[in-house]
């Protein structure tokens, strides 16, 4: 039940899950680009809202809300720092301007979290690794990436076991002053590192035994193929980007304050 759950892949089936990760990443980049273009609250609000249907279609509402909740703390921090920096370093026109600008910066951050969250919630690490491979990244890196993810739960469990084993020998992690507390972690770190080294050796043996490095042109059981849905998303994303650029260039976007006092 933590903020990280908002970014962990959720295995459901939905149209968004089926989309090519490369296309989804393009969408995230475009959202980022648009978010950076505007300083006004209105377009950022729009950007935030148009992504919500995405979340619903992807059936990851619960987890997405968690990522929003998790980012609340950092968002508040951004709001406050922006407020203070505009106040002290100028650009300060009026109270409502200050409020809106700070809120807009905060919303920019939230919009980014929103799209990244959608990306990671709907893309399995498998697919991600595959996307990296098909994007031309050398196989060694893709392999290191997916293998690392594969071992995350194993390492987490091992760390817990090591802590338990040392606690069972009287190690008290909470005791003592700051320096002592750091020293207390040595009996945890060393077994963890030694185990990781041993594990890599065993993995290397197993890789060799399965003909690792036999030929440079590896084949793959899976292949990512672009489908109708992917082209659709690409077109929408580009259309929105084009529209946003047009607006940014030619249409003066009003501040909320002006809109509301009308």
């Amino acid at each position: 039940m933590s903020m990280f759950d908002g970014f962990r892949f959720r295995r459901t089936s939905s149209p968004v899950h089926e989309l090519d990760p490369r296309v989804k990443f393009l969408y995230v980049c475009i959202v980022f680009a648009i978010a950076v273009l505007f300083n006004q609250l209105l377009p950022l609000l729009v950007l935030f809202i148009i992504q919500v249907p995405f979340v619903v279609v992807a059936r990851v509402q619960k987890e997405w809300v968690r990522s929003m909740k998790g980012s609340a703390l950092f968002a508040t921090f951004i709001f406050v720092t922006n407020w203070l920096s505009f106040y002290f370093y100028g650009g300060y026109e009026s109270l409502s301007w200050l409020f809106e600008r700070s809120l807009a910066m905060t919303l920019r951050f939230i919009v980014l979290i929103e799209s990244f969250s959608i990306f990671f919630l709907t893309t399995s690490p498998d697919h991600l690794g595959l996307a990296l491979e098909q994007s031309g990244i050398p196989y060694e890196f893709c392999f290191a990436f997916t293998t690392a993810i594969r071992f995350v739960p194993v390492l987490a469990e091992e760390a817990q076991t090591i802590m338990d084993a040392q606690k069972a020998r009287g190690l008290e992690l909470e005791k003592g002053n700051f320096i002592n507390r750091i020293k207390n972690y040595v009996p945890i770190l060393i077994p963890l590192i030694v185990s990781a080294i041993r594990r890599s050796l065993e993995l290397a043996e197993a890789m060799e035994s399965r003909a690792w490095g036999a030929i440079s042109k590896r084949t793959n059981l899976y292949v990512l193929k672009m489908k109708r849905g992917d082209y659709f998303l690409i077109m929408i994303s580009i259309a929105i980007l084009v529209f946003a650029i047009y607006v940014w260039l030619y249409i003066p976007v009003p501040y909320m304050a002006d809109l509301l006092s009308l």
């Binding site: 739960p153 065993e202 993995l203 035994s209 003909a211 793959n220 059981l221």
Partner: protein, 289 residues
């Protein structure tokens, strides 16, 4: 069962010393393993059996370095002259720790790993993966992540991954060390199927002789780096040397050794529970009549 079968593994006066080793891990090993045999390789810890296994697919000498003297030939290839990835297509190796030989995030991707490395076309990979999953009885696990599986299931995935490469020989190094008895039994049943149905040569390094020896054609016992016994299970288990070396002789055999000491006559010492039952039943029936 091996009539005029060819030798798939030939070792002559093989001696190996690890790079940082003071003395050889094993020495003067001479043996021939014929195609289709089911061999159990056993012996006390440190006897060299694990090291010997790694010579069969080239991990020794290519991965470990060190000094390898003598001759070893596998599937007609001299091990010192061929890369591991060539030898791996003929001799598959399944390791002791199930967790550290699975890399992928799903079972079927793991089974495909070796085939992908070999550049085999996708349709062929798909066929072989399905076949291997079937043979290892893990078809229903194909989409699962390795972390979710039990140790026994993980080992069967490892076996399937090796099997998919169509090797002539599969070597298993203490595959059931971390597995519970039922899981271990399942693994032995799968290995036996591979041997009986597909004719794959099996070399199984094991301590659990009570569960595994019923499947073996041949037992090889090593001690302190040398082969001390090599033959039919019955003869090997009943020998004095086996007791002195200190391997886990099946209880069925041990029981009859004790009975024999008390002048109970038997022609052949049983190796399995079933054989023991038959012998005792006969004796009890004679007793009745």
């Amino acid at each position: 069962m091996a009539t005029e079968k060819l030798a798939i593994i030939k070792a002559k006066s093989l001696t190996y010393t690890y790079p940082i080793g003071a003395k050889p891990a094993f020495e003067d090993v001479t043996l021939e393993i014929k195609e289709g045999e089911f061999v159990i390789l056993t012996g006390p810890s440190g006897c060299g059996k694990t090291t010997l296994c790694r010579c069969f697919n080239g991990l020794i000498p290519h991965f470990y370095g060190g000094r390898l003297d003598g001759e070893i030939e596998v599937a007609g290839m001299r091990v010192v002259e061929h890369q591991i990835h060539e030898l791996a297509q003929h001799v598959g190796l399944v390791f002791q720790n199930p967790e550290n030989q699975l890399f992928a995030l799903s079972v079927e991707k793991d089974v495909a790993f070796g085939l992908e490395n070999l550049g085999i076309p996708r349709e062929e990979i798909r066929k072989r993966v399905d076949w291997a999953l079937q043979m290892a009885d893990i078809l229903d696990l194909r989409e699962r992540a390795p972390y979710e599986l039990s140790g026994g299931q993980q080992q069967r995935v490892a076996i399937a991954s090796v099997l998919a490469m169509h090797p002539e020989v599969i070597v298993l190094d203490e595959p059931t060390s971390f597995i519970d008895p039922l899981g271990a039994q399942k693994i032995f049943e799968v290995i036996n199927e591979l041997n009986e149905k597909l004719g794959i040569t099996i070399i199984l390094v094991e301590h659990r002789l009570d569960l595994a020896s019923r499947y073996a054609d041949r037992i090889i016992i090593m001690s302190k780096g040398r082969i001390v016994l090599d033959g039919e299970p019955r003869k090997v288990f009943d020998s004095e040397e086996a007791r002195l070396v200190g391997v886990g002789i099946p209880k069925a055999t041990r029981l009859f050794q004790i009975l024999r000491e008390h002048r109970f006559n038997i022609s052949e010492v049983p190796v399995t529970v079933e054989e023991a039952s038959i012998v005792i039943k006969e004796a009890l029936k004679r007793d009745r009549s």
